[in-house]
């Protein structure tokens, strides 16, 4: 339980920093896709005797590279290409898990994670991802802000927008991979995107969005762990359900307040 608590707090830092950029840059679908696309890597890790995180990262980066090639060639729009590759990678993972390696018993853990089973290595990797996200945020703040706000003028303003965009996509891939062990391939978005999407409803600046997102992610993580222990259910899904409920409540509250103000 102690490790689970440390894990969610470390993930909160990444969620605050990267989650905000994910929401601002409209990369939520990419984040979901890259988490799910890592599935075949996780299946292969056990029979091939390689670390699960390394296999997942390799697959996720392969997904990102394929997506880049497909969208640059102009053969498919970004969302279509993401959907196509997501299904392709996931289907390969299912075939590998069910028919080739018969790893059915571990599939639930791969898809939904096991927050209570995180190892010390997982904690170190999550900490490294959090530090990496903070470093990226500090170094690339200006290009990310400029390219996000006004992509048509970013190059003319002299900022390395293309490099920053690429590094952001790689950082999201790394963050999604380290979150896999805790919340699984299908629930990565619950940790990395939901808190930022909620805070986005009220945030007035990017720093405010990042700080408040980290705080909300930590709060939801700790509350989700407590709820899961109390109700004897999985912590990953509980945190995601809680995140969805908080988002819905915030959106409804704001909509009601706007209606009253009219």
């Amino acid at each position: 339980m102690q490790r689970a608590l440390v894990e969610v707090l470390l993930l909160s830092v990444t969620a605050g920093v990267l989650g905000s950029w994910i929401v601002l840059r409209r990369l939520a679908f990419y984040t979901h896709a890259i988490g799910t696309a890592a599935f075949p890597g996780l299946v292969l890790a056990v029979p091939w005797g390689i670390p699960a995180q390394a296999a997942a990262l390799g697959t996720a980066l392969g997904f990102a590279g394929a997506l880049d090639r497909l969208t640059r060639s102009g053969r498919a729009a970004t969302d279509s290409a993401t959907g196509l590759l997501l299904v392709g990678f996931f289907a390969v993972g299912v075939v590998l898990a069910s028919d080739v390696f018969e790893a059915g018993a571990g599939v639930d853990r791969l898809l939904f994670g096991s927050l209570l089973g995180v190892s010390e290595l997982d904690l170190w990797l999550t900490a490294a991802a959090a530090v990496g996200a903070l470093a990226l945020n500090a170094a690339l703040w200006r290009p990310l802000l400029t390219a996000g706000f006004d992509p048509s003028a970013a190059r003319a303003l002299g900022v390395p927008a293309t490099t920053a965009d690429w590094l952001l996509l790689v950082a999201i891939a790394c963050a999604a991979v380290v979150a896999l062990e805790a919340v699984g391939a299908l629930l990565v978005i619950g940790v990395l995107v939901m808190p930022a999407a909620t805070v986005r409803l009220v945030a007035r600046s990017v720093p405010e969005l990042q700080i408040a997102t980290a705080a909300l992610a930590a709060l939801q993580g700790v509350a989700g762990l407590w709820l899961a222990a109390t109700l004897n259910v999985g912590p990953g899904p509980t945190i995601s359900v809680l995140g969805g409920a908080v988002f819905a409540a915030a959106a409804l509250f704001l909509a009601g307040r706007r209606r009253l103000a009219r």
């Binding site: 200006r142 400029t146 706000f149 006004d150 003319a156 002299g158 600046s205 990017v206």
Partner: protein
């Protein structure tokens, strides 16, 4: 600041485009000197923004050459910016200093002062802390122009800065353009407004290629406007001509 006399932009026999085998703009040759405002006229899709992309070094050039003094400042159409992005007016203006600030340094205090001064110059000093998306269309345009002022560039490219802005903003922007001309900068303005173009120094008419270039009095003839706008050119009741662009007309 004086940059008088010299050519700041020189384009000869330019041809280029994004799609393989297709040229978005061709056969374009012109020059802009310091202290000059060039109106770039043409229908939507006629190559105005493509020309600016070429001057910014972002268009694959297949023929000819382009020379621009320094890195131009670019003011895009306001709808290209994200209105839902949580940035204030002064933060947007500060982006004009990013290109000269090393990634490991904070934006200089002098640049922060310059950003406030640029906002004051466009008449928006009291709106510095307001979110960009909450400003009116004309105010947003003025903020983007203030950002270009921050770049302190010899050449400025403005993509339809007067389209859909309120009268107060239009007047302020026109005064600013005159000031920039007086400072010896070269200002290229994409516009649909032919009346406005008559008041500036040179006119470049584009319709996928260069139709005409020269002083407004010699260039803005009926035949040139017909060749530039085709069916978009309409004859008004008083015998003048108008250009039908996005459901409104501009007199000629």
């Amino acid at each position: 600041m004086s940059r008088g006399g010299s050519r700041l932009v020189e384009v000869s026999d330019l041809g280029g485009g994004y799609a393989p085998g297709a040229e978005a703009l061709s056969d374009t040759s012109f020059a802009v000197e310091a202290g000059m405002i060039l109106a770039v006229l043409g229908p939507n899709g006629g190559g105005k923004t493509t020309l600016f992309r070429a001057l910014l070094g972002e268009l694959p050039i297949r023929r000819g050459h382009v020379e621009v003094r320094g890195r131009p400042a670019y003011v895009p159409q306001t709808e290209r910016a994200r209105l839902d992005f949580p940035v204030s007016a002064v933060e947007v203006v500060l982006m004009g200093a990013y290109g000269r600030t090393a990634w490991y340094r904070r934006v200089a205090r002098a640049d922060r002062g310059a950003a406030n001064a640029a906002l004051e110059r466009v008449g928006l000093a009291d709106r510095a802390g307001v979110r960009f998306g909450q400003l009116s269309g004309g105010q947003r345009q003025r903020v983007l122009i203030a950002r270009a002022l921050m770049q302190d560039a010899a050449v400025l490219l403005l993509d339809e800065p007067l389209s859909g802005v309120d009268t107060a903003s239009a007047e302020r922007i026109e005064t600013l353009l005159s000031d920039l001309r007086g400072q010896g900068r070269a200002v290229l303005v994409a516009t649909h407004d032919v009346d406005q173009a008559r008041r500036w120094d040179r006119v470049l008419c584009l319709s996928g290629r260069q139709v005409a270039f020269g002083p407004p009095a010699e260039t803005l003839t009926t035949s040139v406007l017909r060749a530039t706008y085709g069916a978009e050119l309409v004859e008004l009741d008083d015998g003048r001509y108008g250009v039908r662009v996005d459901h409104h007309s501009h007199g000629t």
